[in-house]
Symmetry: C2
Subunit: 336 residues, 2 copies
C-alpha cells in the first residue's frame, strides 16, 4: 500500500467516530470545529475540502495492528489524538497570527478570536470525553498518556514562543522544543492503538519512541522546506520561515555554529521592519553555505533511521511493518 | 464555623496540592498561571494577594465529609475543578475583553493574549493530569464527570457569547445558559469529593444537584448586583451589566415580560455608542418597575431553597450539614 492509500484506509476507519464526536458539540462550538476540519464552510454549508492528511489517526490504527489487534481497537485513541492536534492548530493559528491554513482562512480569521479560543477548548476537552467514554483500564491508561503528551505539546509551544525573544537558539534547543511540540503527540499517536490493545509496556514504549523520532524527522524536513521549499508545493511563500525570522533548525545550526555566517545572518534578522526578497535570498544563501541545510537534512535522515530502528525490536506482522515503514518514509520524504 | 472560616479551612487543605500541580508547569506557562492565582506578580516576584475565594475546593472537601470520608480524599478533585475554573476565567477574560479581575490586570492584559491562551490551555490539561495521576476507579469516574461538566461549561460560555447577537433572550434561556456555564462545574465541585470517596450514585447525584442549583442562585444574585450592586463592594462600576448591554436575568425578565418596559429597555440597548450614566440609571429604573429585580431575587431564593432541599434526602453528619448549608447561604447572601 502506498502512503496515501494507508492514510485513506485509516481515515475511512476513524472518520465516522470523529464526526460523531464533533456532532456532539453545540452549534456555536461545532461550526468552527467542523469548518476547521474541512467538513463545513463558514456559513454552515457542507464542504468536501476535508481535514488534514490524518497522519496521527493512521499511526494510531497501525499501532493497534502492529500488536496483532484489529485497527478498530485504536479508533477512540485515534479520534482523541486528532482532536488534540486540531485544538492545538486552532489556538496556534491565533498565536502565530496565521491567516490561512490549507488554503482557507484560519478559524480565528473566519470566526474571530473569541470563537476560535472556545471551539479549540471544546475540542481539547472532547478528546478526554471520547477516550474516557468507556472507562476500561486500557482507555484510562491511554487517557493518562494523552494528557501527558498534551502537556508536553503545550510546553513545547510555549518554548517556541519564547524563542522569539532570544537572540540565539542552538540546534539542541530546537530539537528539545520540537520533541515536546511535535514529538510528544506523534509518539502518543504511534502507540495509543497498542495501549488500547493492552500491549506490553516495552512494546508501547518502542512505538512511542518511533513516533517521537518520526516527529523530529518530519520537523527537520519541514524546517528545510520552510526556507527552500517550492511555494507551489508548500502553499507558503519562498523563504517563509526566514521572512518570519523563525529560529528553525537550519537557522539555529548557523547562529550557534561559530562560522562567519552567524554574524551575517544575525545582522539580517536584526534589521528593523520587513525583510526584503533580497534579504531572504541572502539569508538562505548564508545558511546553505554555513552548512545549516546539510546539517538539518542529516538530522532528518538520522531521526528517521532512529525511528525505524525502534520498530526493529518488535515482532510486528510483516504486512503491518511494511505499512508503518512505508508511511514513515512517505511523510518524511514528501513535503507534508 | 462561618463562611470565611469554612473557605479558609478548605484552602489550607487544598492549596499545597494546587501549588505542587502548578509548579509542574514550565516557566513560560507557569508564570501567567501563578500570577492569575495571586501567587506571583507579573515579574515573577512572590505575591500574597491570593487566589479567589475558593468556593469550589471548599464544596469538594465538604462533599467528601458529607459522605463520612476525611476531606483529604477530595483534594485531587478540588484541585482539578479549581484548575478548570481558573482556565475558564483566563480564557473568558480574553473573550470578554476584561482588563481587570480582583483589582489586578487580567492575564491577557498583563502577559498578552498569546500567553493567556496557552497558559489557560495548560491549566485545562493539568486538571486531567492531576485527577488521573492515580487511576483508581473513583478517580477515573471523577475525571469523566469533570470532562462532562467542562463540556457543559464551554457550551454555556458559547451560548452566553451568542446572546450578544440575539435581540431578545428569555429568563428560561438565561437559566439554561447559566445552568451550563456556572451550574455544571459547581455541581461537579459539590459532588467530586463524594465520587472520590466512592459514594453511592444517588448521593452523588443529590450533591451534584445541590451544587448546580446553588450555582443558579449565586448567578441570580450576581445578576442583581451587576445592576444594583454597590461599586465599593462589587469592584465594578454601578450598573456595569447594563453599560455592557448584558442580557442578564433581570433584563431578560423585562425583555420578554410583555410589559411596556420591554420596548423602553430595548430602545435604550439599541442606541448606538456608549450608554450614558443617565441611560443606565433609566434602564435600571425600568427594569425595577417592570419587576425584573424582584423576579430575579425570587429566582435566587427559590434556587437556594431547591439546593438545600437536595441535601435533605442525604444522611450527612450534622456538623458537616451545618457547614454546607452555612457556606451555601453565605455565598448567595453576600456579594461574592
Amino acid at each position: 500500500m502506498s502512503g496515501p492509500e494507508i492514510l485513506e484506509r485509516a481515515r475511512r476507519l476513524v472518520e465516522p467516530a470523529m464526526v460523531a464526536a464533533v456532532d456532539g458539540l453545540c452549534g456555536e462550538l461545532g461550526l468552527p470545529a467542523r469548518y476547521h476540519l474541512g467538513w463545513a464552510e463558514a456559513d454552515g454549508s457542507p464542504s468536501t475540502v476535508g481535514a488534514g492528511k490524518g497522519l496521527r489517526p493512521a499511526l494510531a490504527v497501525l499501532s493497534a495492528e502492529a500488536v496483532g489487534s484489529p485497527g478498530e481497537v485504536a479508533v477512540p485513541g485515534a479520534v482523541a489524538v486528532e482532536l488534540v492536534h486540531n485544538f492545538s492548530l486552532i489556538h496556534d493559528d491565533i498565536i502565530d497570527g496565521d491567516l490561512e491554513r490549507r488554503h482557507r482562512a484560519t478559524v480565528w480569521a473566519a470566526f474571530g478570536t473569541d470563537d476560535a479560543i472556545i471551539s479549540g477548548d471544546a475540542l481539547h476537552n472532547l478528546a478526554f470525553q471520547v477516550l474516557l467514554g468507556e472507562p476500561t483500564p486500557e482507555r484510562v491508561a491511554a487517557t493518562a498518556r494523552l494528557a501527558r503528551a498534551t502537556s508536553a505539546m503545550l510546553a513545547g509551544q510555549a518554548a517556541d514562543m519564547a524563542f522569539d525573544d532570544l537572540p540565539v537558539v542552538s540546534l539542541d534547543d530546537c530539537l528539545a522544543m520540537e520533541a515536546d511540540k511535535t514529538g510528544a503527540l506523534l509518539g502518543c499517536a504511534a502507540s495509543i492503538g497498542a495501549v488500547l490493545a493492552g500491549a506490553a509496556q516495552t512494546t508501547v514504549d518502542a512505538l512511542d519512541s518511533f513516533g517521537r523520532e518520526l516527529g523530529l524527522a518530519f520537523q527537520a524536513v519541514d524546517d528545510v522546506l520552510g526556507i527552500w521549499g517550492d511555494p507551489a508545493m508548500t502553499g507558503k511563500a519562498a523563504g517563509n520561515d526566514l521572512r518570519e525570522r523563525k529560529k528553525s533548525m537550519p537557522v539555529a545550526v548557523v547562529l550557534t555554529g561559530g562560522s562567519g555566517g552567524a554574524e551575517d545572518l544575525a545582522a539580517i534578522y536584526d534589521q528593523p521592519g520587513d525583510l526584503s526578497d533580497g534579504d531572504v535570498a541572502r539569508a538562505a544563501g548564508i545558511i546553505e553555505a554555513a552548512g545549516g541545510r546539510e546539517r538539518t537534512d542529516f538530522e532528518a535522515a538520522s531521526r528517521l533511521e532512529s525511528a525505524l530502528a525502534s520498530l526493529g525490536a518488535l515482532e510486528i506482522p510483516a504486512e503491518v511493518d511494511a505499512e508503518i515503514r512505508g508511511l514513515a518514509r512517505f511523510v518524511v520524504e514528501r513535503s507534508f
